[in-house]
Symmetry: C2
Subunit: 484 residues, 2 copies
């Protein structure tokens, strides 16, 4: 063997092997090139010559060489045959000497409020009256019934020692579909994909329906977790204002006349954070718009079943153009990490494949436990929860009327988990929060709820994470900050 | 108002509003432009003129106009002032008339074996002896102890009615770190991130450390779920062969001399599917290589604690360059969907942010239950499981010696869940499977375990998902197919 030529006597192929001969050739040459045994510039024998020596067809050698060309390991030129290619001198393109690998990672999109998802999840607030997290109230408690359900399923090998189907546990998909049919939606069990929380569905949609740089439509304000996800994945959110009847569908229409967003992310029922519900008239128009302009709606509906007077979800008006997301986090317990998606058949498999990449399948144990709970305790629990929410709302509205100055305002007709309040001109939301925290009460300031500015004079008060009898006191303390 | 000019008399700004005036200006003009009230070409008043009329600073108008320029709604040219831009005629760029939105979605990367993650999860195999899924054996059963643990934590509001910290439940992170320290790894609780299964960690790494089109190094064969994830995310996998001492580290070295992969994905202990364990010497060399070339190792270690004779994980030799993944799926139960990652501080936050986008946080209920199980039952369970695996291996090896022809071969020194067998030249793996299924036995054929070809004469037999006394019968039936 010389730098200019190579004698293939050393090359032995195993005709009995299950590995095809072209592949043996490829693998052996590759190893010799990569290890430097065949240095740059080494001339390889012409295909016909090597074929004769090895006693194989010429096409076998052609095939083997072609793989090496594809790897960039050899170069072929008409007239001068095949040579080992230049492999570089070991000076890595991306990493300058001494620069550690973590400095050269792909760009990291963190968004403006990178901590927001973590904050929404974290539960440590010390002694404060913390109107922060959107978690269910401690009463009515699902704990006893839930424990009983899990005890019933926990001894079943098939629920605990398996991964389960990625689409979800069949009986639970059917139970979910059945409930949705009762709400006016034409949903079959096979349209339902169980998810590890509905947040997973937002990421699923963001990654499957759009590419970095694509535009989407969001409400302003909207769920900050969704905005954070859209930012991580590089989507550009076009905000559309929300008024007392829900999102301004006329604005969406104007946007669709000139832009082509990948989807419209909307929370039509018990909107987070405003607590408003999209009117029937706007629902009708929004679904028509989506169909006319060919832009799917992503309907996020974690609170829909808790409404004091419920409207049918958007998906009731058109399965083909709506991707529906919901969750048991607000109706049973967040720690279940259980939600679902209803998606058109046209994109179901695409979404499923990506869902598998997030966690293979959602826990069978959790799904079987919730299936049991749904059959035994869910309706009673939901009924009690609606009553509790109405009572908390009444307490909050009374406390606001009693303790807040007129410059601190909230919509008394809001429903659901949250009070969305506007602060006085002289009190930015952050300043209000800082002062309130000194009085032992906390909440969220409004800016993370907006994709492009706004919210600096809004706060969100979650009514559910505190004991019921702390609501008036907490609201009074916020009022006291403003009154000074 | 004419097509050429616009009289701003109608524009009213609210000086008492919390919304800054520039923003009011922006929002009102935006709405009028989008709704067509201000058509294309309409000349807007010069900034100074409008400022005077509204009684505000010129900079307020400049600011408001600038936002409209950023939105593409107005154009500004020196000398000719500001005009409403052309907004298109409503003919969407992406969607031709009549083409539904789901036809125009971003490209979908499915890989060559799109069903493989779903197949690995699915549990429906009829009456067959199904050597398919990598699930723990039914005996020793963790069910009773696990149920007791969940019963103990299920009444705790903080475990059930919260999301919990995205990093994971503190005491469990500490328990995991403690176990890893016992295995020779310098791991602190704050280096541990709890995950919803270790599959989640593979996607986390694929999405956070690399971009579509980037190269990575994988073993050949390797876990097909990982290959599927890398394909979905557009990474180009460079395969490196595995021999009886584990992955060929010399090949990796040769690759690093000429290419710059984002990371090296490796399963050094009880490798799936071969059951081999990387030798001490190669471990040492691999970690040195990673450091020298600045390419991090992704160590996937779901089986490490089940080894009959365990070696310290790679991360024991260098925290800075190793991202470590493990899981309770193989040691307790897959339906927990609970795993963990140990990641360098340099990239921990980047990974955490993306983990939040997959599911906010991993279930607190599951984490608290497993924390209880770890303190009460885990060591005994692991010990029993190791014995069970050794006994199943002995049964399998004896059955292979007794029932297989010499042309059907497996490594008797393999450890862990799987037998990786090579099939005779005349029997491709798919043909063998098709024939075996007719005799009531199933397993996986080898091709999905390879990133770039290979495996057509290999099969993977999982020893754990079947009753112990079905192992010999199943192996005998496979042998009978070959013997004809």
């Amino acid at each position: 063997m010389t730098a200019n030529g190579w004698a293939p006597e050393a090359l032995v192929v195993d005709r009995e092997s299950v590995v095809p001969i072209y592949r043996q050739l490829y693998e052996r040459l590759r190893e010799q090139i990569l290890t430097g045994a065949l240095p740059e510039g080494t001339r390889l024998p012409p295909e016909r010559v090597l074929a004769d020596r090895l006693g194989v067809n010429r096409s076998t050698i052609v095939h083997g060489y072609r793989e090496l060309v594809a790897d960039g390991l050899i170069e072929q030129r008409v007239g001068s045959g095949s040579r080992v290619a230049a492999l570089g001198d070991g000076a890595p393109e991306r990493t300058a000497a001494g620069v550690p690998w973590w400095v050269t990672l792909p760009p990291w999109r963190v968004g403006q409020y990178p901590a927001v998802l973590g904050e929404l999840a974290a539960s440590e607030h010390g002694e404060r009256i913390a109107f922060v997290q959107g978690v269910p109230p401690a009463e009515p408690s699902p704990l006893a019934d839930l424990s009983a359900s899990f005890a019933r399923v926990g001894g079943n090998v098939n629920f605990v020692l398996t991964y389960g189907d990625s689409e979800g546990y069949g009986p639970l998909r059917e139970a979910v579909a059945q409930r949705m049919r009762r709400r006016g939606c034409e949903v079959d069990a096979r349209d339902v994909m169980m998810l590890t929380g509905s947040t997973q569905g937002i990421t699923l949609v963001a990654q499957s329906l759009a590419e970095p740089g694509d535009e989407i439509v969001v409400e302003a304000p909207t769920y900050p977790g969704a905005l954070q996800i859209f930012q991580i994945h590089g989507l550009r959110a076009i905000p559309v204002p929300v008024d007392e009847h829900g999102v301004r569908v006329d604005h969406i229409e104007a946007i669709l006349r000139t832009r082509r967003p990948r989807f419209i992310y909307t929370m039509p029922s018990l909107h987070n954070p405003t607590g408003v519900t999209l009117s029937e008239e706007r629902r009708e128009r929004l679904v028509l718009l989506a169909r006319r302009w060919g832009v799917p709606l992503v309907e996020d509906d974690p609170y829909g079943e808790l409404a004091q007077s419920a409207l049918a979800p958007l998906i009731a008006r058109g399965n083909d153009d709506v991707i529906y997301l919901s969750s048991f986090s607000k109706t049973i317990a967040p720690s279940l990490r259980l939600g679902w998606m209803v998606a058109p058949r046209t994109i179901f498999d695409r979404l499923l494949l990506r869902k598998q990449s997030y966690d293979m399948a959602t826990s069978m144990y959790i799904q079987a436990g919730v299936d049991d709970f749904m059959r035994t305790a869910y309706d009673a629990h939901l009924g009690a929860l609606r009553i509790e929410l109405a009572e908390r709302r009444a307490i909050a509205n009374a406390a606001i009327a009693k303790h807040w100055p007129p410059s601190l305002r909230a919509d008394p007709n809001a429903d659901g988990y949250y009070v969305w309040a506007s602060t006085p001109r002289e009190f930015g939301a952050r300043a209000l929060l800082a002062n309130a925290e000194r009085r032992g009460v906390s909440f969220l300031f409004g800016e993370p709820f907006f994709a492009q500015g706004g919210g600096d004079h809004h706060i969100r008060i979650a009514l559910t994470p505190v004991p019921r009898d702390a609501i008036e006191e907490g609201i009074a303390r916020i009022g006291a900050v403003v009154k000074g």
